[in-house]
Symmetry: C2
Subunit: 232 residues, 2 copies
Amino acid sequence: QLLELVDTLLEEATDLRGKQVIVTAGPTREPLDPVRFFSNYSSGKMGYALAQEARRRGAHVTLITGPTALEAPVGVKTVAVQTAEEMYNAVNKRYQQADIVIKAAAVADYQPVDVFAHKQKKNADEWSVALERTKDILRFLGEHKKEQILVGFAAESEQLHTYAKSKLERKNLDLIVANNITTEGAGFDVDTNVVTVFTRDGQETAYPQASKKEVAKQILNELEAYMKRREA
Amino acid sequence: QLLELVDTLLEEATDLRGKQVIVTAGPTREPLDPVRFFSNYSSGKMGYALAQEARRRGAHVTLITGPTALEAPVGVKTVAVQTAEEMYNAVNKRYQQADIVIKAAAVADYQPVDVFAHKQKKNADEWSVALERTKDILRFLGEHKKEQILVGFAAESEQLHTYAKSKLERKNLDLIVANNITTEGAGFDVDTNVVTVFTRDGQETAYPQASKKEVAKQILNELEAYMKRREA
């Protein structure tokens, strides 16, 4: 903990120095009644590691996070949200001032159509829950992009390349970080990840398994290299 | 942390000494696909506090817990589960050897009928998810009760007395701990609780707001008093 603090304070000045960086992290929870909700298995570890690493490189970092079991990183402004809608509002409010947005959160893409004010009793043997799409935050960011650099994630269980490259295009991203959640040592609730980074200008780099802290460095290195190419 | 450890090791011998106690805690998660699940807002704090207090009173405690952000209590055998079905199996396996079962877990009462092996793509604007009832663990324990003492919980947002007393009867419980989750300082993800304890022999005691650690003492005091009356 202390070593981590020292490490964070001894920031390394890179091209991220002084940049306004928004990182989103964790799952969202979409309530069905005061007791029940829909969510996903995101632990928030990847996003928190990215926030910490961006801070270490001298960026001003805002971490917008769904419910996780993690401690807020030192030196980072942390904003806690619950639902996809709250996440959307928190990101949107800060988007125009941002230089870089890294959307590592696993935002729920469906929410219950009806949210009950009281706990529903379990009378029925079956219960059909109607879900509707949440606001697509990444699509919104892509559509309203000016000079911002937009980094998205694709967590897939099949056809990783196809889905990731299609998402990069559709959402108007600059980088996409893709991982196959069925690969051992990748994905949710583990301390490591195995990613492939695709960039808007056609680069594709597959990395071996590494700690999420290490993967955060890989992603920000890719990001800085992309920024350099874009400016050139 | 150290003080807590000392506190736990300096056990207080009471009528729980040497008893085999099972405590369940936390939520369960019912998967829909490799990414999405249904769950509830239980933090596990009440169950963990009960496990720790039972241990402090000299009981042999097994804590069967869904996913929480909490550290396993010292001196307690902890078994981690994810789904209602895993919780059912873990409790059932140990039930005949148990003297007391305290079911503080907020087990999901519905699970998706279809569990998809691959992440479902968000193509449709609407998605109707069919849910079916999970196995009713408490009912099963009530039906197969021999000498065990069975403690249940009722977390309600309305009609607390009616629901709690009806559940005590229907599930063949010895004690039920009822709390209104809409009361400030009660219920999920807070460090305090406000409970009313109902016993099989007709006692009803309402307690003021207290820390979950303190509420654990209230509940186990009620339990020990009930055991004394039953033996008399």
